[in-house]
Amino acid sequence: MNKLATIALFAIILSSCTGEPAGEEGADSTEPIKIGFIGPLTGDAAAFGSDAINGAKIAVEEINAEGGINGRQISIIAEDARCTGGDAVSAAQKLINIDKVDVIAGGQCSGETLAAAPVAEAAQIVIMSAVSSSPDITNAGDFVFRVYPSDALKGAALANYFDSKGYTKIAMISENTDFCIGVQNVISESTAKSGGEMVFNELVEPGTKDYRSLMTRLKDIDFDVFLVNSQSDSTGGAMVQQMRELGMENEIVGTDTLDSITLGQVMGEAMEGVKVLSVPSLSASDPKGGPFVQKFTEKYGNAQQSTFFAALSYESIRVLIDVMNKVGTDGPAMRDALYGHTGYDSIVGTITFDEFGDVEGIPYALKEFQDGELVEVERIPLN
Amino acid sequence: MPILSTNSLSLEINGQQILKEVSFSIEKGEIVGLIGPNGSGKTTLFNVLSGFLKHTDGKIDFEETDISEVSAPKRAQMGIGRVFQNFGIFREMTLEENVLVALESLPKEKRGEINNLKEKTKETLEFIGLANRAKEKASSLSGGQMRLLEIGRTLASGKELFLLDEPTAGVSPKMTNDVSSLIRELKDDGKTVMIIEHDLPFIAQICDRVFVLDVGSIVLEGDPQSVQHDVRLKEIYFGADPTN
């Protein structure tokens, strides 16, 4: 357990809370550049929130060690939005109006990003999300960018996979969050398009852990595959476990949130054979990402959910820094530069932004739980 | 030797003087009535004596010990018993349990004097004539029976001083006699009793002495007959019907 790291994290949060008002914008060129961070640092989704902040901190430390941007150091101010839109709005307002940050990294949950986007847009500040995937983010605004592929693509990828397996009867339980509803819509549409049928499609309150009666109902339904559409690994894990306990052997497929290294350990054989469609994993032996993974593990221990999320967050900060190096910290200038920013070579893939600020070049991977480990079975390139 | 005495006992709550320099002294074995209009501070005085409220000035002596700083349960263990206006019985417990819990709450040395708690419980219920209902819930009793149970329970736990807050309230006229004869038996046992009552004839019949409380001070004191006929009593009640 890496207590120090988390204590340090809290120290940052606390110090950001005391928030001394910054001086006039750009008044002093030796002032540090401020990056605001929004993400779920507490709550059910805190697993990938803490991976994201830790990844971002590594990027900032590296740049500072290299001398910063044109001699200016970078500081990162983290705000906890607990995976809710309301908290993300307050966080964005605080970061922009009180801390006077130059750019925002976040949010991580789609709900956070969608809520914070209009605030950043109004202030003409670039907001860059590392792991938000809701299709709605595509049209969330001019200043909104992300390095995570949209779930619109995930729908197509899943539909392809179901097609290849001959699955037509789809069962799904979704949590009532922006991310899950985005996935739910995409899957429902793509299933209808490919001639399949949603035979079970229930929406539950966020954080629900007791799925037994829903699973009891599902047991009497004829279905080919069950899609776990959860907001976090702990709720998704509960779905899988309670379904398996009732003796249902059908194939289970999960989305990004099931992409969790701890699930295999916690749930053991219940997770065996469960498939996950997500972004690729990043291991210490990866030729490109290996050094980052080693650095991360050294500093923060094993990732709470996925080193890939940490890596995405790390690279999203590096992209921002790259752009600031070229055009400075002016919001509109950064925005224009990001749209023209093609083929940035990163440890997670080649990052290019399309005209909506969505990333191109990050592939999907189909993984499977085998002996408690997540193993990649297929790489799925996206346009 | 007085069993209970107070010396300019005062209580102030939020700047309001509820009790004003109340001083009195009660001898062992006396039955003393406490009367006065509503809001004159009678029940408050009982609450201060039992330790539920802490007085702000003055002192209380019980059996020649200053008990001003003693907590309510401790005072009970020293021998101050209390009977509540709103029936201080445990309604969801059986009659038997109501008595038993009183015995079990005695300090160790006093409990040791009772050989068999169950036996003592049975005797107590027989004494108040409710032995045949030992296993019933106390909530099934009539008001008078509840009062008998409450007083009987206090007696069984060996209290010396009884503070009875309107023992005839909620009791049918027929049962009132049972209650008053039980109180007389307390006196015969050598116990000391203080009674708050609105029922003046009841007071006249049973008490040795009467205190009249008005706006937090004792304004009249004497034997029941003289107090009952004192012209000032009417003034205190402002002509209101004192039996009401």
Binding site: S213, E245, L246 | G88
Partner: protein, 293 residues
């Protein structure tokens, strides 16, 4: 049948927590808003002892319960005892503060990834056409055992009689010489122990994650309010009842045309039942009359 088992599982968990809480609320009149976090701590400590320290499960459970007792004791002395006699709502504020502190501590110490005390799939057996795992049977049996032993203590021992006396008429109890402050401490600590058992239950049956705290607290309060103030059995029966309603809402078609109520309304429907019920019987399910507080 499966639905009834599901309700038994969920209800046992709620009953463990609500039972202790009902005693605390009944005797002290205090709302302990950090209850959910105490539940989680019990579970996490057991997880830590069993998985990290590799101590046998039974001993780990005892360790978790012991820690729960210590935490409850600490909570009582620092966050409740100095305040509740001045005003019984003061601990509402202090324990909310405590719940935030504990939330943070859980995150720092145990991190946010889910934790399970028993790892792997459970052995399932079929009873009356319903599937239930042996662990769940053990959990239900254990809950019933714990509740029965509490019931025994409460109904047939001297200390139990004193507790009930304090619940039913605090002043009369004191005027008999019952030292309620000590009883209050004892009750608060036992509620902490019951809460930790609840957390261990969650850790064995599902998995522990840091945000469970508040929803647990709310559900336990719904049960004790529906059950009637300070009514131990009322709270427990209502905990099971709420669980049953929740399972029925999603498990059987209640809407016309054989349609199901959307699962997202599961909790709302259960709480709605409670509200309707309280409108007709504001004293709660099992209290025969209103008590003057």
């Amino acid at each position: 049948m499966q639905l009834i088992f599901n309700a038994l599982i969920a209800g046992s968990l709620a009953a463990l927590i609500a039972g202790g809480l009902s005693l605390v609320y009944g005797t002290l009149g205090v709302f302990n808003m950090a209850l959910g976090q105490m539940v989680l701590f019990g579970g996490y400590i057991t997880w830590f002892l069993h998985i990290q320290m590799e101590i046998p499960l039974l001993m780990s459970i005892c360790g978790g319960a012991l820690f729960g007792a210590l935490l409850a004791w600490f909570t009582f002395e620092v966050f409740v005892n100095p305040f509740y006699k001045r005003h019984r709502f003061l601990p509402l504020v202090t324990t909310i503060a405590l719940s935030m502190i504990l939330d943070g501590l859980i995150l720092i110490i145990f991190k946010s990834s889910p934790k399970g005390i028993l790892q792997g799939l459970k052995n399932s057996v079929e009873i009356f056409g319903a599937i239930i795992s042996t662990e769940q049977i053990a959990l239900i049996a254990f809950t019933i055992l714990i509740l029965c032993s509490f019931a025994y203590v409460l109904h047939s021992t001297s200390i139990g009689r004193k507790i009930r006396a304090v619940v039913q008429h605090p002043q009369a109890a004191m005027s008999l010489g019952i030292r309620s402050p000590q009883l209050h401490r004892l009750i608060f600590i036992s509620s902490g122990v019951l809460a930790s058992f609840g957390g261990i239950f969650i850790g064995i049956d599902q998995n522990l994650s840091p945000v469970l705290g508040f929803p647990i607290t709310i559900k336990a309060y719904a049960a004790i309010i529906a059950g009637g103030r300070g009514h131990f059995w009322g709270a427990i029966i209502c905990a099971y009842l709420i669980a049953l309603i929740e399972q029925l809402v999603v498990g059987i078609p209640l809407l016309p045309g054989g349609n199901y109520i959307p699962a997202g309304y599961q909790h709302s429907v259960a709480l709605f039942f409670i509200i309707v019920f309280l409108i007709f019987k504001p004293t709660g399910l099992f209290c025969s009359r209103l008590r003057t507080a």
